[in-house]
Symmetry: C2
Subunit: 206 residues, 2 copies
């Protein structure tokens, strides 16, 4: 008879275990609202003791913030493929790339950023603000508007505002199916072109 000394649990590298718990948390937080997800649920999902969550993330809230941070991070554009054409062409390229990103995340993206809840959460707000800022910065670079440097702050504010429409249009497309990708592409391209080509110059003369 074999002395089956099969261990009751496996000991993982901290990074691996962290990642595993984070994955489960992302899934569960994506399914139902914060208060409806207990750390017990997450622990069970990860096949782990509940206390381990506190060990790695301090508190439930800490884990949640980590989830938000993870989900909101947008990949940086590969600018090597950006065409050198007119503003309209570069904008079209950028929008297309944006929609690719949204499409890739698909349901998860929507499930995560789809709901605007009530409740002032400075920490979450900061994370999202930073993400929006990076996305805006990135978009500005991609369409090559760097020459407008002096009014950079206003330009980025404009683009962040545009980001709101991107998200809303994305929801119309992905979740509600009221617009096709082609339609969203058209709308966002025309709007962003007008924003950068027309409105922005007007704004600078105020």
């Amino acid at each position: 008879m074999s002395t089956e000394t099969e261990p009751r649990w496996r000991r993982l590298e901290p990074d691996q275990r962290r990642e595993q718990i984070l994955d489960c948390a992302i899934r569960l937080f994506g399914e139902r609202p914060y208060a409806e997800v207990s750390t017990t649920d997450i622990a069970r999902e990860a096949g782990v003791a509940r206390g381990l969550i506190n060990h790695y993330f301090g508190s439930k809230r800490g884990l949640y913030l980590e989830v938000v941070r993870r989900m909101v991070t947008v990949p940086i554009a590969d600018r090597s493929a950006v065409p050198d054409g007119s503003l309209a062409e570069r904008v079209e390229f950028s929008v297309d790339w944006l929609l690719d990103v949204i499409s890739a995340r698909g349901k998860t993206w929507v499930a995560v950023l789809g709901t605007e809840g009530v409740g002032n959460d400075p920490e979450v707000e900061r994370i999202l603000a930073e993400a929006d800022e990076m996305a805006a910065e990135n978009l500005v670079r991609t369409v090559g508007m760097r020459d407008a440097e002096p009014a950079g702050a206003e330009l980025r504010a404009l683009v962040r505002a545009f980001g709101g429409m991107v998200k809303a249009a994305g929801r119309e497309w992905i979740t509600h199916g009221t617009l096709t990708r082609e339609q969203v592409q058209l709308v966002l391209t025309e709007q962003l072109t007008a924003l950068l080509g027309e409105t922005f110059p007007h704004l600078q003369r105020m």
Copy 2:
């Protein structure tokens, strides 16, 4: 010596008490996130026994949904004052009215819709979707695009997407102060004009 039989608590009409609790809940939920607000806090703020909250709203979540519903409801535009001019003029009027509404709610509005959290909450989503739908419907009527009836669904989807930009621009103005009201006015007016006058016709030919 007077037989001071001062009552320990006053008995209110259900509607009044409901309203009072709701007011306190709105204030507190506007200050910190859902999980950080306990029903004990709300009860104390309202000077009321905790159990009463459950009596009126069933659960903490029920109260929360009521708060969201209340905060998200946008007053109907007074169409009697809408000018009969060009599309651009009507759009300008509508945007101005929108900004008035946002301005009136001010910090509260932002505190409420400012944070996009993570977590799929169908109920909250439904409430917000309905509110957006009503706002879009209202805006479409105000700018007098009712003639575009056959493509009403797409038009409203477009306007809902635009609503995303309204919110984002409002945040830039109210909370971050990166744009002035005049700038936001200009941006939204031009964008909406282009959306309705240019992009929408283009969209119909797809």
